[in-house]
Symmetry: C2
Subunit: 342 residues, 2 copies
């Protein structure tokens, strides 16, 4: 590799500026600015000359300078857990659409469920002066955001509530959804029902167990501690958890899966048994209809849209008190949740 070129040779600095365009077109700087921004007060002829210079030089406005002057970046930050998780695709897209409608771009990052990384990401976004922030919390202490919120950075927490800070929050009704899903199993005759979910430090996870317990209590059923398994949702752990509750001294006849990743693994494990126990999963999954998986679906696009709408409401000047929205879930019966106990 003949790498004779100096490191920064081809980088910025050689990009034309408005000043260059002005010189070439033989007009003043401000006239170029007017043309670039479509402001009035430029004759058609001047406008044409400027436009020619712009095209000839390949000029593009430098938004860093513009932002520095205007104070608004027209961008919003989205910090989620994992962009690759199918739950977050539609959510991101919905946020993006709302942002687009408001002329804003989306900057997003994955926290990988690591509070430290969440904070780094959020602060990096704040340094870039995003106008607003949508955060799916990984950590449980967001006081580091106080200066930003005070400074008027619109902030919305999604999927889980914020820690120690007041802000708009958009959630799915995890408690109610789980309760309904478990009640559905009970209604189909099950008495010994297992719950496999995420680590209890995650708000949605603990809410869903709470829903499970409530449904059991509602029906006057006692929930054996051996039927509840909370922890990481990697296939290995979920598999052994499910197998354990199917083979214990008081084996369950049905399983409630706490999220999409758990459901996927649970489906695999249950499919291996000749008479598969019943299953209801939280979160819908693609092709779940073909597999006949009964789920409690949350509308992740609606969650994203709602959050973005709250965000822009604030950016548009609203000073409403921090709101907490819980979107309803939908039980979709497809077969796996209606199988009777063995």
């Amino acid at each position: 590799m003949a790498q004779t070129a100096r490191h920064s040779e081809t980088r910025y600095g050689n990009r034309p500026t408005m000043k260059d365009v002005a010189a070439r077109a033989g007009v003043g700087l401000k006239t170029v600015s007017r043309v670039v921004n479509g402001e009035p007060g430029v004759t058609a002829d001047t406008g044409r000359r400027v436009q020619e210079a712009i095209d000839a030089l390949g000029f593009r406005r430098n938004d860093s300078a513009r932002v520095l002057r205007k104070g608004r970046t027209s961008s919003v930050g989205l910090v989620l857990e994992d962009l690759a998780d199918p739950f977050y695709g539609p959510l991101s897209r919905a946020v993006e659409e709302v942002a687009r409608a408001h002329g804003a771009l989306l900057i997003n990052g994955s926290s990988a469920e690591d509070p430290q990384r969440e904070q780094e990401l959020v602060l990096a976004l704040c340094a870039r002066r995003v106008d607003g922030l949508i955060v799916i919390p990984a950590g449980d202490d967001h006081r580091y955001l106080e200066p930003e919120i005070k400074a008027g950075v619109a902030t919305v927490f999604v999927d889980r509530p914020a820690g120690r800070v007041e802000a708009d929050t958009v959630l799915s009704d995890s408690f109610g959804g789980a309760r309904e899903g478990v009640a559905h199993l009970i209604a189909h005759g099950h008495r010994r029902i297992g719950f496999v979910g995420d680590r209890p430090a995650i708000h949605t996870a603990s809410e869903r167990v709470r829903g499970y317990r409530a449904a059991m209590a509602d029906a006057g059923l006692e929930a054996d501690p051996a039927w509840v398994s909370l922890g990481p949702t990697d296939p290995g752990r979920v598999r052994s958890a499910v197998e354990a509750m199917l083979t214990g001294p008081r084996p369950v006849t049905a399983v409630f899966a706490g999220n999409n990743r758990v459901t996927v693994t649970a489906v695999r494990v249950l499919a291996e048994r000749e008479r598969p126990p019943a299953l209801v999963g939280f979160d819908d999954i693609e092709l779940a209809d073909l597999l006949g998986i009964t789920v409690v679906a949350q509308d992740s696009a609606a969650v994203g849209r709602t959050a973005a709408e709250y965000l822009f409401r604030r950016l548009d000047g609203s000073h409403h008190a921090p709101a907490r929205v819980e979107l309803p879930t939908t039980l979709i019966a497809r077969g796996s949740g209606e199988r009777p106990p063995a």
Copy 2:
């Protein structure tokens, strides 16, 4: 709504700057800059005083100003078709991981397969002076990017080649993958095989039909035009296309689905028949193993990672000639592609 507050009251402008921090700490501006950026040449004592002022004021460096001076934003733009498509989740995430390893943030947008929107997005990213750009092309003419490429904005095209512009390109081997998939059906005894794919203007779509035709020709089979259907991949069109080729005068005994969306619909349609025709789909799908769907899988995370690596290679000063990489696909046999003809 008592909206007495003026519109911009709580927005920027009231954020502390380095100057404010300097005043409060009783030091010079440059000393604050040194502390904020961890540069040497500050005594421990001075550093502490500055840090206290920073914390007290809730100061965050304004990266817009920094960027304006330094010329690099440490951000890369990713323009894809639809963030909500499961194919792009892992791809985005892989790009993000590589970017993160290089200290860069990811700005991304969905073109919705609209060339106009692609260009708007790309130019908005250029105005923000992203250091690099990863684009899944919607349009077929990218000459509008010439000024940027000339100015040293690293650019990588993904999934489809660029139009009329020289740049690094990372693709999956659509032709080879489709050819292999169709050959697989032929090897299992099929002679009348249908192909349902996306609009032929999309590069991957036409490559895949080409692979289909090549496989048929390789086997000395003639491909009836009625067996090939290209167009939008919404469920309605795909459904009627599949049904048409199953009920025509020379009905197919197997279907090759050109992408994940087509596969999903095809699975549904075929499942309705008592003796389902064989099926191979391009792109893997979650739970495809449980449904026994044979696919030609492309590794979207690898595509994203490779693209990002090329991008940062250029950002790190490489001046290699524009490369074109084709990543291999993998045929995964799971049952649907091994069913013999009726």
